[in-house]
C-alpha cells in the first residue's frame, strides 16, 4: 500500500514538473506567435493537467475527510494550495478555453455572439497565475532535506513567499480590471471600442467600406468589418490567416447598427503573457534560492546541530560534539551546542556505562539472522 502511495506521489511530482514546462510554453507560445495548431494542443494538455490536479485534490480531500482530518489536510498540509491550483483553474481557465476551441471551428462564420461569452473568459484569465502555486506542491513530493524540520520549514517559507507573489499578482490584475489600478488593457480596449463605434455608427449604408478602411488604416488591430449576415466589407488578412493565427479569444467583437467589427486583442494577451512569464521566472528563482541558498544554511545553523545533540542525548554510544562554525558562537542554537559540548557530554562520559566505550556496531537482528543461517 505504501509502495502504491509512493508511486502516486512520484507521478504527482512528475506531473507538476511537466505542468511547469507547460505553463512556460503556454505563455511563450503567445509571445512567439505560434500557430493555432500548437496553441490548441497546449490548451488541451492544459485541460488534462487541470483535470488531473482536480482529481488529485478531490481524492486527497475525500481521504482526509474519511479519516476526519479534513481541516488538518486543508490548512496544515496545504490542501488549500491543491485546491487553488486545480478547481479554479479548471473552471475559469482550461475548461472555458477548451469549450471555446470546440465551438470556435469556422470562427468568423457564426461565432459572433459566442465571443461575448469569451469576454467573461478573458476577464477571469488572470486566474491563470494560480498555476504557479503548483510549484509549492513539489515540496511535498521531494525529500531534499534529511531533517523533517528543515523540510517543513523551507517548505513553509517558500509557500508563503510564492503565495504572496501569486496572490498579489492576481489581486493587482483584479484591481486593474476593476479600473482601480491604471493599466494598458483599459485604454487599449477603449481606443479599439471607439474606432469600432466610428465604423458601426453609420450602419450598413454605402459609406461602410470607406469608414472601415479608414479606421483600419488608423488602427492596425481592426481585422474584419462586415454587415451582420452579409458580406465582408473589409479584411486585413486573407481568410486562411485567421484560421492559422487566431484562436477564438484573440478577437474583440463589436456589434452595432447591424455592423460587426472583429478586432485583434492579441496585444493584450502578449502583455499578459509577458507578465505571467516574469512571475513564473520570479517564482522559480524564489524556489531555487530557498532550496539552494537558504535550505543548506538552515541545515547548517539549525537542524544539523539539533540532530547531533538529539542523537547524543538519545544514544548512549554517540558522543560526537557539535561543530560550532567560526563566528556563530553567539547564535542561540550554537550557545546551546556549546553547553552540550562542555557540560552534557563530559557529564555523560562520567556517568554513562558506555561513556567512553566503542560505538555499538552489532544489533539483535544480526544475531537472529546469523542463527537462521547456522
Amino acid at each position: 500500500m505504501r509502495k502504491i502511495g509512493d508511486a502516486l506521489e512520484a507521478v504527482v511530482v512528475v506531473a507538476i514538473l511537466l505542468v511547469l514546462v507547460h505553463t512556460f510554453l503556454d505563455d511563450f507560445s503567445i509571445l512567439a506567435e505560434w500557430n493555432v495548431g500548437a496553441r490548441s494542443l497546449l490548451i488541451w494538455t492544459g485541460l488534462a493537467f487541470d483535470l488531473f490536479f482536480t482529481v488529485e485534490f478531490l481524492v486527497r480531500m475525500y481521504l482526509a475527510l474519511s479519516a476526519r482530518q479534513g481541516t488538518e489536510y486543508f490548512f496544515r498540509q496545504r490542501g488549500w494550495v491543491d485546491f487553488l491550483a486545480s478547481i479554479p483553474l479548471l473552471l475559469l481557465n482550461s475548461l472555458p478555453h477548451a469549450l471555446a476551441l470546440l465551438a470556435g471551428a469556422g470562427m468568423l462564420s457564426g461565432l459572433g455572439s459566442f465571443l461575448n461569452v469569451l469576454k467573461v473568459i478573458k476577464a477571469v484569465r488572470i486566474a491563470r497565475i494560480l498555476r504557479l502555486l503548483r510549484v509549492v506542491k513539489l515540496f511535498r513530493g521531494i525529500r531534499y532535506a534529511r531533517s523533517p524540520m528543515a523540510q517543513g520549514h523551507v517548505s513553509t517559507i517558500t509557500t508563503i513567499a510564492v503565495s504572496i507573489l501569486v496572490l498579489w499578482t492576481l489581486g493587482a490584475s483584479v484591481l486593474e480590471v476593476a479600473g482601480i489600478f491604471p493599466g494598458l488593457e483599459r485604454p487599449f480596449l477603449e481606443g479599439q471600442s471607439q474606432r469600432a463605434f466610428q465604423i458601426t455608427q453609420g450602419g450598413t449604408g454605402p459609406g461602410l467600406a470607406a469608414r472601415a478602411a479608414a479606421m483600419a488604416a488608423a488602427d492596425p488591430t481592426i481585422l474584419v468589418v462586415r454587415a451582420k449576415g452579409g458580406a465582408v466589407v473589409y479584411s486585413r488578412y486573407p481568410a486562411a490567416v485567421y484560421g492559422e493565427r487566431f484562436l477564438p479569444w484573440d478577437y474583440g467583437y463589436y456589434l452595432a447598427n447591424g455592423v460587426e467589427v472583429f478586432a485583434d486583442e492579441r496585444p493584450i494577451s502578449v502583455a499578459s503573457s509577458r507578465e505571467a512569464l516574469v512571475a513564473l521566472v520570479a517564482v522559480v528563482l524564489i524556489v531555487l534560492a530557498f532550496l539552494l541558498l537558504y535550505a543548506p544554511r538552515f541545515a547548517m545553523q539549525i537542524s544539523d546541530p539539533i540532530h547531533v545533540m538529539r542523537r547524543g542525548m538519545a544514544e548512549s554510544d554517540y558522543n560526537l560534539e557539535v561543530l560550532i562554525p567560526r563566528g556563530k558562537d553567539k547564535d542561540d542554537v550554537f550557545e546551546l551546542a556549546a553547553l552540550y559540548n562542555s557540560v552534557y557530554l563530559p557529564l555523560k562520559d562520567r556517568t554513562g556505562s558506555e561513556g567512553t566505550a566503542a560505538p555499538a556496531a552489532l544489533k539483535i537482528e544480526d544475531l537472529q539472522d546469523l542463527a537462521r543461517r547456522t
Binding site: H307, L320, S342, L345, P359, L362, L367
Partner: protein, 313 residues
C-alpha cells in the same frame, strides 16, 4: 567441562560467525567480543528463539544458554587475538627504544615472546582482559603514529615533558614504539585485581595505587626478565591517576594512558553526521574536561585536541 569441537559444535560455529560478522569486521578481537557480549547481555530474553535454533536447552530460561554462547564467543576471541598479537609484535613493535632505556642493550631475542606471554596472561584475567581491549585497539590503530610525531614536531608540552622533564632522548619513531609498548604492558597492572574491586564499567581503566604497583612490579618483572623493571614500570604506572603539578607519573606513561583510553573508545568507522565534530576531536575535548576525574594529563589532552583540530582529524 566437555571439550567442544569448534567446527562441528553449532554454538561455537555461531560464535565464530558472529565474530566474523561484517558489522564487526574492522574491530580487533576483544572489541568484537565486547560488542557481541553487550548484545547478549542487553537482549537476553529476546534471544530465546536464537538459542532454540542452536539446539540449546531454554526450559530454564535464557541465562544458561547465554552463558554458553558467551564462553564460545570468548574462545573465538582468544583464537583471533592470538593472531593479532603475533602480527603486532612482529610488525608493529620494533622495540627500537630498548637501547635508550636499557643502557645501550638491544632487545634480546626472547623479549617479544615474554611480552606475548604477559599479554596472553592478561587476556586470561577478566579485569586485565578488559584493559587489554583498549590497549590492543590503540596499538593496532594509527592513533599513536598519527599524534605522537605531530606532538614531537610542535615542541610544546608533550615534547618538553618527555625530552626535558623525563629526559628521554628519543626520536619520534622510537617514542611511538615506546608508547605502543606501554599500552601493551599496561593491562598487566590489573593481573592481581579481583573482579569487583573496580566497578564493572570501569574494569581495566580505574586508576591504581602506587604502593600496589610497587608490590606487583617484581612479580611482573620475573615473568618478563628481558625487560628492565624501569621499562615495565612505565607500562604499569600508566594506570596511576595523574595529579597536575605533582609529577607523580612519567610523561610517557601519561601518554600511554591517554592512548589506551582512546583505544577503548575506538569503534568501527563512525559516520560523522553533518554538523558534528570528528570522533578524535570530540573525544579529546570531552576528556580534557574530565581529565582530572579520569586521572589523565589535561595539558596533553589539550595539545592532542589542538593537533586534531589543526589537521582536521
Amino acid at each position: 567441562m566437555r571439550a567442544v569441537d569448534p567446527v562441528s559444535d553449532p554454538v561455537s560455529r555461531f560464535a565464530m560467525r558472529l565474530m566474523e560478522a561484517p558489522a564487526l569486521r574492522a574491530l580487533p578481537a576483544l572489541q568484537k567480543e565486547e560488542q557481541a557480549l553487550n548484545v547478549l547481555r542487553s537482549n537476553g530474553p529476546q534471544l530465546v528463539p536464537v538459542f532454540t535454533s542452536l539446539g540449546m536447552e531454554v526450559s530454564r530460561g535464557w541465562r544458561e544458554p547465554a552463558a554458553l554462547v558467551s564462553r564460545a564467543i570468548r574462545a573465538a576471541a582468544d583464537r583471533m587475538m592470538e593472531a593479532e598479537i603475533s602480527e603486532l609484535l612482529s610488525s608493529r613493535l620494533e622495540l627500537s627504544f630498548f637501547p635508550v632505556l636499557s643502557e645501550g642493550r638491544s632487545a634480546p631475542e626472547r623479549a617479544r615472546e615474554e611480552l606475548r606471554s604477559l599479554i596472553s596472561r592478561a587476556a586470561r584475567h577478566p579485569v586485565a582482559r578488559s584493559a587489554l581491549s583498549g590497549s590492543l585497539a590503540a596499538a593496532r590503530s594509527d592513533i599513536i603514529d598519527k599524534y605522537i610525531p605531530q606532538a614531537f614536531e610542535r615542541k610544546k608540552y608533550v615534547y618538553v615533558e618527555i625530552s626535558r622533564v623525563q629526559r628521554l632522548s628519543l626520536a619520534a619513531a622510537q617514542l611511538c614504539d615506546l608508547v605502543r609498548f606501554i599500552v601493551l604492558a599496561r593491562p598487566a597492572a590489573y593481573l592481581f585485581i579481583a573482579t569487583g574491586e573496580t566497578q564493572d564499567r570501569e574494569a581495566g581503566y580505574s586508576p591504581l595505587q602506587e604502593q600496589y604497583l610497587t608490590k606487583i612490579l617484581a612479580g611482573i618483572g620475573s615473568s618478563a626478565p628481558s625487560f628492565p623493571q624501569t621499562l615495565l614500570a612505565l607500562g604499569l604506572r600508566s594506570t596511576l591517576a595523574y595529579q597536575p603539578g605533582a609529577s607523580n607519573v612519567e610523561a610517557t606513561s601519561r601518554l600511554g594512558a591517554i592512548m589506551a583510553h582512546r583505544g577503548r573508545a575506538l569503534g568501527p568507522a563512525v559516520v560523522v553526521d553533518r554538523g558534528a565534530d570528528s570522533p578524535d576531536k570530540s573525544w579529546f575535548n570531552v576528556q580534557r574536561r574530565n581529565a582530572r576525574w579520569r586521572g589523565l594529563d589535561g595539558r596533553m589532552l589539550d595539545e592532542l585536541y589542538t593537533i586534531a583540530s589543526e589537521n582536521g582529524w
